[in-house]
């Protein structure tokens, strides 16, 4: 029997052995010995241990001992060396054999070759998955500990195993979950994407990585990050797909919120209307925190009333009710929050005791909670209130509070920006109005990039269309042709880095040929980035210029009138000057005729008298020429004037009158007198006027010589002075100033415009005319005007201050 059993035992397709209760091996079957290559004698006792892999031996021995102590069956895995030296994994199953009293009398064991299974397990990073039931519990405790949904799925999509978190999320048992289709768990919108990812992964054997929403047991979809990795056997075949689904819903929400915020800030930056931004803000909050209604009210510019800002989902009648409510604590949560600059929470409006008027209205609109938060500017000024309403009583959570804080901040940015923009627009409008009123435009030129920016007013001055792109050529087309070289020169110098400063009057020529006068003040600077910029202002001075011209014309005419009036007074004197040579002509001509008629004719005498006739004729012509120059009406010119010569001519005109008036004239004309700048005729008019005044001032003087001194001299500061000193009645009690007023006169026949016109002429020459009493009798009148610049023939004072 025993030998029969032994044969059976030896024939079993496994390695079988027995041990004494103390663990001492007392039997090994033939297959054991054949496998290990050890004979029974070698292997019995402790000898078998030489066949266990050294790495596994320590653990094996410990487990073997604990099994012996437990007196219960057990399993141990270890590598066993084959006769040829190769190790293979074996599962050692050990069972105690007990007697009737339960005492272990023998241990029997069977070693099962698990090498193939071990190999496939080694391909899996989580080999504990496919363990025997005892190990499954181990897996579950680990798998359930992971903060994610974990599953093992066959390549055909069947669930092999799934962790408890996943089952709880889906609200299903493993069996139920196994029966569910993917469409039951993934959001319909995400399904195509997920299926495509899965198919692609199965086809290529590559991991996939996709995001989608999973339906929770309560029907709410949450976002998951879904990853799948293949598990392969030693041959490289995919055995399973290991799925790891991580809940990223909070992150997705935060991202959506962030994107929403970004969108809002972009709206702010791109200048959307404030109401549009606030509307979008409310909608974002409403989509983030489901079931709420959102509103923004603003404090009006006076700070006393609320104005509607936004409230996309609030009833219109409620918005109308809030709009215009006072900013105070009795007004309602929003009015109170804005007034106190503090958050006001009305968590349960039905039981609210504040706001007697507001509460019934809110309740009538189905609103039972209202959380109102002040919107404050960066400077701390309350701009309005941001409110969240709910249909039921509710207190804000920490998350909601942080949302409120974020959105209140964005609202403050939007409102402040809108207010700043409005202020900027007002300021720009103010500037544009100021430019329009002062006919002053401004420009900015990026010297390097040739970019030109003109203000609205400058477009008007240049008569340019704002819609047409600006080019240098277009702008130059508005310059008077004579000014273009100057404009070019300035630009070239600016481009060469010369910080050109211009302060100059220029002419523009419009397409219709009309001329405009503009005053240009411009300079070149560098901006923050070091780029060259030309900044300038252009004032249209055409009207001023035209009125100046008109004024100059009136002045010139007045001066002419004064000269003509003077001419009347001078008739006698002029008549004398002309009659004198005329008389000579007639006399000489008569003599000449007589000499020729004599017998024999006195040819020599006739020739002499004819010569004298010509001389006197020239003399008369000279007088007429001088008169014509002085009394003709011509435009004012500016040229170098020899004041001495001009004075001599006037004296020549006045000579006989002065003589008749018994005036003794002393002319003290400086030899080195430089030429003055001005209009010769007008200056002579002044000299004439001063001399005649002086002469008339002495008309009643009989107790002293009627001495008149006219003097020219060089002054400091490049000026020349002319002085007329008389010994007449003096300035009188009225003093000097009165003399220069128009129509002031002390003479019975005068118009009283002589000195007024004279002063206006001298001032027109950038000079000064004044009167002073003499130490002795009489008065002295003087004028001082700029001399002509040396070496310059035309000294027209240029308004151009030049290039610096």
């Amino acid at each position: 029997m025993e030998s029969e059993l032994r044969r059976v035992v030896d024939a079993l397709p496994g390695l079988v052995w027995t041990a004494l209760p103390n663990g001492h091996i007392d039997f090994l079957n033939q297959r054991w010995c054949e496998y290990t290559g050890l004979d029974v004698a070698e292997a019995c006792g402790q000898g078998w241990q030489s066949a266990i892999h050294p790495e596994d031996l320590l653990e094996f021995v410990q487990r073997w001992r604990s099994t012996l102590v437990s007196c219960e069956s057990g399993e141990i895995e270890a590598r066993l060396q084959r006769f040829d030296g190769e190790y293979r994994w074996f599962l050692f199953r050990i069972c105690p054999i007990a007697d009737a009293s339960g005492r272990v009398v023998k241990w029997c064991g069977i070693n099962i070759d698990i090498e193939d299974r071990r190999r496939s397990e080694e391909a899996m990073p989580t080999r504990w998955w496919l363990r025997a039931p005892a190990r499954e519990g181990h897996f579950c405790s680990i798998g359930d500990g992971i903060e994610a949904h974990v599953a093992l799925v066959t390549p055909t999509g069947e669930i092999e195993i799934v962790n408890r978190r996943a089952l709880e999320y889906f609200g299903a048992t493993l069996e139920e979950q196994e029966r569910r289709s993917i469409a039951d768990t993934v959001h319909p919108n995400d399904l195509p994407n997920f299926i495509a990812a899965w198919r692609g992964a199965v086809e290529t054997g590559r991991p996939y990585d996709v995001e989608g929403r999973h339906r929770r047991a309560d029907g709410v979809y949450r976002w998951f990050h879904m990853r799948g990795s293949p598990l392969r056997d030693t041959e490289g075949r995919i055995v399973f797909w290991y799925l790891l689904h991580t809940d990223v819903d909070d992150r997705k929400q935060a991202e959506a919120l962030l994107a929403g915020e970004k969108r809002l800030l972009e709206m702010v930056a791109s200048g959307h209307s404030m109401s549009g931004i606030l509307e979008a803000l409310c909608q974002l909050v409403e989509s983030t925190a489901c079931g709420c209604h959102c509103s923004v009210v603003l404090v009006d510019p006076c700070g006393t009333r609320l104005e509607h800002g936004a409230g996309p989902s609030l009833p219109g009648t409620f918005i109308a009710f809030i709009n215009g409510r006072p900013v105070n604590s009795d007004s309602g949560p929003c009015g109170m929050a804005a007034c106190l600059n503090e958050q006001v929470i009305a968590a349960d409006i039905p039981s609210e005791t504040r706001w007697a008027e507001w509460c019934p209205t809110a309740l009538a609109h189905g609103l039972q909670a209202c959380w109102s938060t002040p919107i404050a500017s960066t400077a701390g000024k309350v701009l309005g209130s941001f409110a969240i309403y709910y249909d039921g009583p509710r207190t804000p959570t920490t998350l909601e509070q942080s949302l409120i804080e974020r959105f209140t901040h964005i609202a403050s940015i939007a409102v402040e920006r809108a207010q700043n923009d409005a202020a900027l627009r007002r300021s720009e409008a103010f500037l544009a109005e100021a430019q329009r009123l002062s006919s002053t435009g401004s420009f900015l030129v990026d010297v390097e990039k040739h970019e030109i920016t003109l203000s609205e007013e400058l477009y008007r001055i240049f008569e340019l269309d704002e819609t047409v792109p600006l080019t240098r050529e277009l702008i130059h087309s508005r310059f008077h042709p004579e000014e273009i070289p100057f404009a070019r020169e300035v630009l070239e110098r600016a481009r060469a880095g010369d910080l050109v400063v211009v302060d100059k009057e220029l002419r523009l020529q419009m397409p219709d040929g009309s001329i405009k006068y503009v005053h240009v003040a411009a300079h070149t600077t560098r901006d923050q980035n070091g780029r060259l910029e030309r900044i300038g202002a252009v004032q249209d001075v055409t009207e001023r210029r035209l009125s100046e011209e008109a004024l100059a014309k009136v002045r010139s005419e007045l001066a002419h009138v004064a000269r003509v009036a003077c001419l009347g007074a001078l008739t006698a004197s002029i008549g004398h000057e002309v009659n004198q040579p005329l008389s000579g002509i007639i006399t000489n001509a008569s003599t000449c005729l007589r000499m020729l008629a004599a017998d024999p004719p006195n040819i020599d005498g006739a020739r002499e008298t004819a010569r004298r006739t010509i001389r006197d004729g020239n003399r008369a012509a000279d007088v007429i020429t001088r008169l014509r120059a002085l009394f003709s009406k011509k435009d004012v010119t500016t040229e170098p004037v020899d004041l001495n010569e001009a004075t001599r001519e006037v004296i020549a005109l006045l000579r006989s009158e002065l003589q008749r008036s018994r005036v003794i004239l002393h002319a003290e004309l400086a030899d080195d007198l430089p030429p003055a700048t001005g209009d010769r005729v007008q200056l002579q008019q002044v000299i004439l006027n001063l001399l005649r005044n002086a002469s008339e001032a002495m008309s009643g003087v009989d107790d002293r010589p009627r001495k008149l001194v006219i003097r020219t001299e060089r002054e400091e500061d490049n000026r020349v002075r002319l002085t007329v000193q008389d010994a007449g009645v003096g300035l009188g009690p009225q003093g000097a100033d009165k003399l220069f007023e128009a129509f002031y006169t002390t003479k019975s026949g005068g118009m009283g415009i002589g000195l007024f016109v004279s002063r206006s002429i001298i001032e027109g020459h950038h000079g000064r005319l004044w009167a002073a009493a003499n130490d002795g009798p009489g008065a002295t009148f003087s004028f001082s005007i700029p001399r002509a610049s040396e070496g310059v023939t035309n000294t027209s004072p240029a308004p151009f201050r030049g290039l610096q």
């Binding site: 008739t571 006698a572 008549g575 004398h576 000057e577 009659n579 004198q580 040579p581 005329l582 008389s583 000579g584 002509i585 007639i586 006399t587 000489n588 008569s590 003599t591 007589r594 000499m595 004599a598 005498g605 008298t609 004298r612 001389r615 006197d616 003399r619 006989s656 003589q659 008749r660």
Partner: protein
């Protein structure tokens, strides 16, 4: 030999002193010219002068002054005034004072001739 009548000319204008004597000589008079009243008075031609052609306006002593002076000295020389000033008020004044004529420059040969005739026939 017929002694020619002496006509004296007193005028500060040199061109008159040049031209007028020539014409008077053509008329057949002896002529003496003076640049001022003072010169004439100081000369020894006063008594010999049969007719005085006198400018009204001159520096220093003017024509009417000389007329008055001659009256004071009882030298009743016929005087023909000449003046370049177109002033009509001077003429009646000097005529009232005894002048033969007052010619306004420019005057014609005929007018001069008539004035001289009147002057010379008056004595």
């Amino acid at each position: 030999m017929v002694t020619r009548s002496l006509v004296s000319v007193v005028d500060d204008d040199e061109s008159v002193r040049e031209s007028l004597p020539d014409l008077l000589r053509e008329f057949g008079f002896a002529v003496q010219a003076f640049a001022s009243a003072e010169q004439f008075l100081a000369s020894d031609y006063v008594d010999r002068t049969r007719c005085l052609i006198l400018d009204v306006a001159m520096p220093g002593m003017c024509g009417p002054d000389l007329q008055r002076e001659l009256t004071l000295r009882r030298r009743e020389i016929p005087i023909v005034f000449i003046t370049a000033h177109g002033d009509e008020t001077i003429r009646p004044r000097v005529l009232e004072q005894g002048a033969v004529e007052c010619l306004l420059k420019p005057f014609s040969e005929t007018a001069l001739r008539e004035a001289l005739n009147a002057a010379l026939s008056s004595c």
